[in-house]
Amino acid sequence: MDSSLIVQYGPALLRGFGVTILCWAAGCAIGLVLGFALMLLRQLPIRPLQALIRAYIEIIRGTPFLIQLFLLYSGGPSIGLRLEATTAGILGLGLYGSAYFAEIFRAGYQSVPKGQVEAALSLGMSYGAILRRVIVPGMLVSTLPAIVNMMAILTKETVVLSIITVPELMYEMQTMAAETFATFETILGMALFYWLLVEVVSRLGRRLEARVTRFLSHSSNARA
């Protein structure tokens, strides 16, 4: 590969990488917040709401991400929802992630021992305080591996956004490949780059996990 290509396409690729990171970060943020909200709403004893949330989760998890993107980006205008490609991409990524995060959080919520909540209740703590101080920290520990894993999956899903013309890294790379005819080399470079990126995300996640779970390092002597 010609090194002058780097000069020529470097800025575009860098910009593309910026868009990738933006989409990933914003998508994760929307997914986490919405997923957490869905999990909380699902705890309310309102049957129709529970059914609705469950249907949402099953629909998102049962259909391809690409179809969801097409629906949002191409189908949206039919109902007056006109989104720019990048906005649609971020929103799509967020909605997609939210269903998976909601399930992860639900499992985490259920994994917090009931007794820890009862102890807080018996001390007169409010539900808000119990959620903040007891349930969420407890959940964090049990769900962190799954959250990190999902965030790594979302890193990979960002490349799908190129199909709806979001100008992220994959899109810029394909433009470059088409213009230079160095298609295979470019794609191989991409493969190696994403391999590295996903590995870095996973590793950082594992390090974070180790930090968060430090206090669990010694097992209890209590019979249980």
């Binding site: 039919s78 490349v159 994959m170 794609i187």
Partner: protein, 215 residues
């Protein structure tokens, strides 16, 4: 929303869904073969095989499927293999699936108590027999839920092969909505078909799991 549009397109969409299903099934079946081979290679005790298997698993799990697909699609002609896009697509799905399946089997093998192969060794079983008679049947049984799940994942992932022009469900939806300007209806219909197939698969998985638990 016009539902007549969906009715008109339905025969084409269902036909394309058949392609989606068999491409995914083929991908999972080949993925099974690759997965078992890689898993056995990594457990064989041969260091080179272990490292090669590890790199394979790491690469195909770490690189986005879309890139794997394009890589294979563009690589085959370069090394002089001229195949239709469909073959490249199935190849990419199988290779990706194989990486995940080998990890599923690795987890399941770890769940088979070590004492069982020791007992077989003590009885004088040859290594190959221990694999085929003791370890793999149990690993398979433990793996069933994960494998059905893998099929569902692959079915969804197969939508990506639309980019190399394979006329499966997603590609066909794109083609139809580009000609009738009704993307909302068409993609909704496509989504429902994916959902129905995956729902059926999930149900099948539950039944299969129950059967295996009884047997």
């Amino acid at each position: 929303m016009k539902f007549s549009v969906i009715l008109d397109a339905l025969p084409y969409l269902l036909g394309a869904a058949v392609t989606t299903v068999w491409v995914s099934l083929l991908g999972v079946l080949l993925g099974q073969v690759i997965g078992v081979l890689v898993c056995v290679a990594r457990q064989s005790g041969n260091r080179a095989a272990d490292i090669a298997g590890g790199v394979y698993v790491s690469f195909f799990r770490g690189v986005p499927l879309l890139i794997q697909l394009l890589l294979i699609y563009y690589m085959l002609p370069l090394i002089g293999i001229d195949v239709p896009p469909l073959v490249a697509a199935v190849g990419a799905l199988s290779l990706a699936s194989g990486a995940y399946v080998s990890e599923i089997y690795r987890g399941s093998l770890n769940a088979v108590p070590h004492g069982q192969s020791e007992a077989a060794l003590a009885l004088g079983f040859p290594t190959a027999t221990i694999w085929t008679r003791i370890l793999l049947p149990q690993a398979f049984r433990i793996s069933v839920p994960a494998l059905v799940n893998e099929l569902i994942l692959l079915l969804k992932a197969s939508s990506l092969i639309s980019v190399v022009g394979v006329a499966e469900l997603t590609r066909t939806s794109q083609t139809i909505s580009a000609s009738n300007y009704r993307p909302l209806e068409i993609y909704l219909a496509a989504g429902c078909i994916y959902l129905a197939i995956n729902g059926a698969l999930a149900l099948f998985g539950t039944l299969l799991e129950r059967r295996l638990q009884e047997g």
